[in-house]
Symmetry: C2
Subunit: 377 residues, 2 copies
């Protein structure tokens, strides 16, 4: 029997920019990003919450487009969509973007730009990835979480069958633009919650970053911008380096960046997404750190440092949903979404992750009980 | 302003196998293809037309699965779907595959296998690509066209907004298995129509393959299997080499393998897909070859050889829909789907393609008129 072995590599590149006042008339970054051999067609999808706290945003974009009309034109008014996980639960938002792509003749060399939190970027990224097999997509993340983690990577998704991220693709963006101006208007929970992803990369990869987080925890919760900008840059850099150096499209079963996420996904779903993703990840990290301690992988001192940091950052450590069948089901759903062999990241030290392929259910329960005690302390 | 430049390559590989009697109990190829560290879950999507002319197929698959139960299990009965372009026009088929993925817990390391013509492979490939960001997908193409061209590449799609392939992704299959047994039951039009894709790659890349096609045209239309197997292997090899050596995910505007396709897509749509894709491509190639002659790019002798070959292969050369606004609209829709600059492949010789970025409408009309004359000759 004959056969032909097909083999190739597909190169991807994109830049994550850090800026302020992106649509200020003297900031040329956005116009340069969409600059091409022809005048680009651009369509915006904007988080309703962002548009509300930045009432001049849509007008600013219009003026900016007029000032840079030699580079791009707006093919329609921005589409305003509700923020938060709900936008990933309802098919109509993806359909609205596809409708717009058809109506306005948005082709593969045109741009769909999403401004908002991680959920909107996930949803718009999915619609953009499947129209014409991929329209150019620019992400402008407006939350800490989206700027340092979810908005800068290569994944998009929507929810289906009550399962988080059931539908999606791997599709690197054309560019990401992090504008720190948007962070000023976040409420305290959203300002804080993305910090857990920085703690995550620090714990599995970089002890010195963890120490920096301990040293800056008070300033971070006090909403000081310079340490937050540094946190976002460092976290984003580690996140991007990990993607580039590993398995960008996750063909294997290993997903180090999902440390703490198996319990987190379940908690988000059980609280109907009232719990923020970053908060859920904080609890998930505390759970898996405690499990690592109970397994004899890390010392009690290390565990205490981790729990203390999350407390200093004003994260919840435990919620009632973290118990019993919820834990068992959460683990099984994670395995199913991952596919193949169960692979869970634990800690062998601060700054050092270690993967395991089995989890002891009784020990998970015990870890959850310990978190309940920590919460009360 | 700071920035981080992200850059990586994603490696892909898959094998295109050539076999006979794929589910015969002494053919271990399929079982070896899905063999993994655990017993694989496998779900089949089968072309209704194929299941009808091969009434033992579903039973054979069941017996084969039982005989190879150490390697894989069927997680449900096969899903039978209608063949032909209609399956890409109706959302429910994609939804049925997604439903099955959810219901049967088909994860990223499980397999969805599609058996059928190009349309079913396109549709099932799309569903498979977006569930869990990509379930392993095996294609078993049953037509000449799907075995030598559409079923072996990296694209999937469904139609939307009355536009062919409006939705889709680039997602290399896990494996492709070409089983020549299925070709025996094709009707004459389906047997012949895929030959146009072989003429296409020959014309743009390999004059000696074109000469081989001229020498074997009579045997091919007489349904002799050995030359058809050779045609499929050579065409598949050139198609795969082109993908690997070029721009697999089509980030630029150049698409040499779309030679003859701009008019073909429009003709398929205008005839409500009564015209086969391969037949439409045949007419599209004749049109662009005639245009190349009228532009002074190829000699009248070369043009006559091309038209004669299609006539010998019993292809239609012209249909009434190939005229006026249809041509203008077809060109514009192709440009929109491609995105960016219009890029059309023409011929500068037999075996030598040349790209142009402008098409002269009056000359297109004249080429279509000449085809009408050729058709009558």
């Amino acid at each position: 029997m004959k056969s032909i072995k097909q083999k190739f590599s597909v190169p991807f590149k994109y830049t994550v920019h850090f800026t302020e006042e992106i649509f200020s008339l003297n900031n040329a970054l956005f116009a340069h990003t969409v600059k091409d051999s022809r005048v680009a067609k651009v369509f915006f999808v904007i988080d309703e919450g962002v548009a509300t706290v930045h009432p001049s945003l849509c007008g600013d974009i219009k003026k900016y487009a007029e000032a840079h009309s030699q580079h791009f034109i707006l093919c329609a008014d921005p589409m305003i969509v509700p923020g938060g996980e709900g936008v990933k639960n309802n098919k109509r938002y993806v359909e609205q973007i596809l409708d717009a792509s058809n109506t306005y003749g948005i082709d593969r060399h045109s741009f769909i730009v999403a401004i908002g939190g991680g959920a909107i970027l996930d949803m718009a990224g999915f619609a953009t990835a499947i129209a014409h097999r991929g329209i150019r997509h620019i992400r402008i993340p407006t939350t800490v979480l989206a700027q340092n983690d979810s908005g800068i990577g290569v994944k998009n998704s929507v929810n289906a069958y009550k399962k988080k991220n059931f539908l999606g693709t791997f599709a690197p963006p054309f560019a990401v633009i992090n504008d720190s101006t948007f962070l000023n208007t976040l409420d305290d929970r959203d300002w804080r919650s993305g910090i857990s992803e920085a703690v995550k990369v620090a714990l599995i990869k970089d002890a010195s970053f963890f120490e920096w987080l301990e040293a800056n925890a008070v300033d971070l919760t006090a909403r000081k911008m310079p340490p937050m900008e540094e946190l976002i840059y460092r976290c984003a850099k580690m996140h991007l380096d990990h993607i580039a150096g590993g398995d960008p499209f996750e063909m294997g079963s290993s997903r180090p960046l999902d440390f703490g996420h198996w319990a987190a996904h379940k908690l988000e779903q059980l609280t109907n997404y009232e719990l923020r993703h970053g908060e859920a990840v904080g609890i998930g990290i505390c759970l898996d750190a405690t499990y690592s301690y109970l397994k004899g992988l890390i010392s009690v001192e290390d565990l205490n440092r981790i729990i203390s940091l999350f407390k200093k950052l004003k994260f919840p450590i435990h919620i009632p949903e973290l118990s019993g069948d919820n834990l068992v089901n959460g683990l099984e759903e994670f395995r199913e979404h991952l596919g193949g062999e169960l692979t869970i990241m634990l800690l062998s030290d601060i700054g050092q992750g270690v993967e395991v392929h089995e989890m002891d259910t009784q020990l998970i329960f015990k870890a959850a009980e310990k978190l309940e005690e920590f919460q009360k302390e």
